[in-house]
Amino acid sequence: MEKFTTLTGQIAYLKLSNIDTDMIIPKQYLKTIKRTGLGKFLFAEMRYDQTGEVINDFILNQQPNTKILLAGENFGCGSSREHAPWALLDFGIKAIIAPGFADIFYNNCFKNGILPIKLSQAAIQTLILYSTLTINLGEQSVKGKEHTFYFAIDEHRKTVLLNGLDDIEKVLEYKSTIAAFEKKHFEKCPWLIGGKK
């Protein structure tokens, strides 16, 4: 996974709460067996009309170079599809700023080097006055020309992004701890060993 340290880029604001994963990537694009190439389908039903024509006034059509997305409450609610962060990343969006995120989506972002930032509605209303913002993960800051806002993030998640770590690699170092746990666990719950007849 690519490291995330700082990011400066164009912003886009979607003035909507509860942007769900069906909106981010409609299900007809989930038939792929690959992780790549989903950027052109990001927000497909808002970007293209029924005949497939581009809807010009949709913000991501006006600003195809957007790197930072700002939005309303509860971003990413709905399904667990990781196709949602894959589509965002493939489009070029590497950070999302919202007052709140749905748990599974939030988690999925970190697995793909996307930084989801929780900031208040008031902070967001100020940040959208800028066209470009700079994010510094080390400092936990989002800067416009005159404003700086600081955000909170779990230490573990910060480390993973800053270093571009792979959770699986980290966990495989605990192989013997896992094996010891399994021995104890299956002694206590032997019906789980096979689990099947």
Binding site: E82, F181, H185, K196
Partner: protein, 474 residues
């Protein structure tokens, strides 16, 4: 120290606690389907890693499978590749797989419990948000993304931070004749909102929950995710044990007795701490239906479509954010403020999904449909059983005939029009009475308008051609 049910299951699965407050959590059970798994299998292969415990996995194809003419195979080439890829990955890794011609095939969240694969006190994951369904058994079950699927494949663990504890206590009893657990969960979501449970695991408890069957409990836990919760939980009891006893993958003999002794310790201790507690009463709950574009936008069927301008926050001031989202929802749904919900015309009816496609759901819908006809104005009414075994049981009871004689289509099992990945979908502008779990914009087809409700209510809508309080038909 007094512990909640969630605390107990969590503590029993912590492999290691990291200094940063996260834990390495052991995963007992893993369900796999065709849409969210191929990239995880590929990732594993590219990194030359092996599956840690193949026996912890049960796989089936459900999201993307046709519900018609299945013997002819899959027409859609992309869907076909995806389903074949799952079969191939299962074969290569010697995984238990119910393919589309196996009568045990069905929606992951239907077949896990049906097979006794879902067990109390286990941790369970699946690349699907409705994994919360299995919480009805006192299993800590939650949806994960594809990267985490790969991590569970490789390590049988996840790095997690513990969620907060929430309890929703429901006193009283649901009214007989027309009110179901679907109405209860829609009522709860309308009360606490679709982000009301974010960051929490919700335990559902109280007399009204105790009185429910396992199938009714599953519909409630299934929709915990629609309240934003990481998982839903219900403490296992005799109802749970009776349901599991004798299922193909459930323990038997001495192991059954041993398991049951452990399962009986799985409840929230009297003095345990909940970060948030909500008390509700079931007695006055009536049939519910949604009018908007997320599951909290709904209310009693006797209500009218709300006026966005009248939406206030808890301080009694206009809630501008909510007002805007309701206004957008009403425009999408083609509804105007003040319109009674009863009377909204229905174009399609969908009885199915991991929320409501079990045998009890089909029986209750059939009880309304029996001897009646689907309204001529309804373009299509579908019944999609949750699994091949549910379908078989329904056919043995003659339910298929009741539905078909009334003008319903009787389909093969799968997710179908709940997410409309296959050919079953709404046309733009069509209103659908649906027993599924999400009414997001475009969820059941671009421009489609979904009204969530119980199987009883959906059956009543099919017969009359519009939303109606099913109690008038019982």
């Amino acid at each position: 120290m007094a512990k909640t049910l969630y605390d107990k299951i969590w503590d029993d699965h912590v492999v290691h606690s990291f200094d940063d407050g996260t834990s390495l959590l052991y995963i007992d059970r893993h369900m796999v389907h065709e849409v969210t798994s191929p990239q995880a299998f590929e990732g594993l292969e590219l990194a030359k890693r092996k599956l840690h415990r193949p026996k912890s996995i049960l796989a089936t194809a459900d999201h993307n499978v046709p519900t018609l003419h299945r013997h002819k195979g899959i027409d859609d080439s992309e869907s076909k590749i995806q389903v074949e890829t799952l079969g191939e990955n299962c074969r290569k890794n010697s995984l238990k797989y119910f393919g589309i011609h196996d009568k045990r095939q069905g929606i992951v969240h239907i077949i896990g419990p049906e097979q006794g694969f879902t067990l109390p006190g286990t941790t369970m994951v699946c690349g699907d948000s409705h994994t919360s369904t299995h919480g009805a058994f006192g299993s800590l079950a939650f949806g994960i993304g594809t990267s985490e699927i790969e991590q569970v494949f490789a390590t049988q663990t996840l790095i997690m931070k513990k969620s907060k504890n929430m309890r929703i206590w429901v006193d009283g009893t649901l009214a007989q004749g027309g009110v179901t657990s679907k109405d209860l969960i829609l009522y709860i979501i309308a009360r606490i909102g679709i982000a009301g449970g974010t960051g929490h695991v919700i335990e559902f408890a109280g007399p009204a929950i105790r009185n429910l069957t396992m199938e009714a409990r599953m519909s409630i836990c299934n929709m915990s995710i629609e309240a934003g919760a990481r998982a839903g939980l219900i403490a296992p009891d005799e109802t749970t044990f009776n349901y599991l006893d004798g299922r193909p993958m459930a323990p038997s003999g001495k192991l059954w007795d041993l398991a049951k002794t452990y399962w009986k310790t799985l409840y929230s201790d009297e003095a345990s701490y909940f970060d948030e507690e909500i008390k509700l009463h079931a007695d006055n709950i009536v049939p519910h239906v949604t009018w908007g574009t997320n599951p909290e936008m709904g209310g009693p069927v006797s209500d009218c479509v709300p006026d966005p301008a009248s939406i206030l926050n808890l301080d009694g001031k206009p809630d501008l954010v909510k007002q805007a989202s309701v206004a957008r929802a009403l425009e999408y749904m083609g509804l105007s403020p003040g319109m009674p919900l009863e009377g909204i015309k229905i174009d399609q009816v969908f009885i199915g999904s991991c929320t409501n496609s079990r045998i009890e759901d089909l029986r209750s819908a059939a009880s309304i449909v029996k001897g009646r006809k689907v309204a001529a104005s309804v373009k299509r009414a579908l019944v999609v059983p949750g699994s091949g075994l549910v379908k078989e049981e329904a056919e043995q009871e003659g339910l298929d005939k009741i539905f078909k004689e009334a003008g319903f289509e009787w389909r093969e099992p799968g997710c179908s029009m709940c997410l409309a990945m296959n050919a079953d979908r709404l046309e733009p502008g069509e209103h659908c009475a649906t027993t599924s779990n999400r009414n997001f914009e475009g969820r059941q087809g671009r421009g489609g308008r979904s009204h969530l409700m119980s199987p009883l209510m959906a059956a009543a809508a099919a017969i009359t051609g519009h939303i109606i309080d099913v109690r008038k038909m019982i």
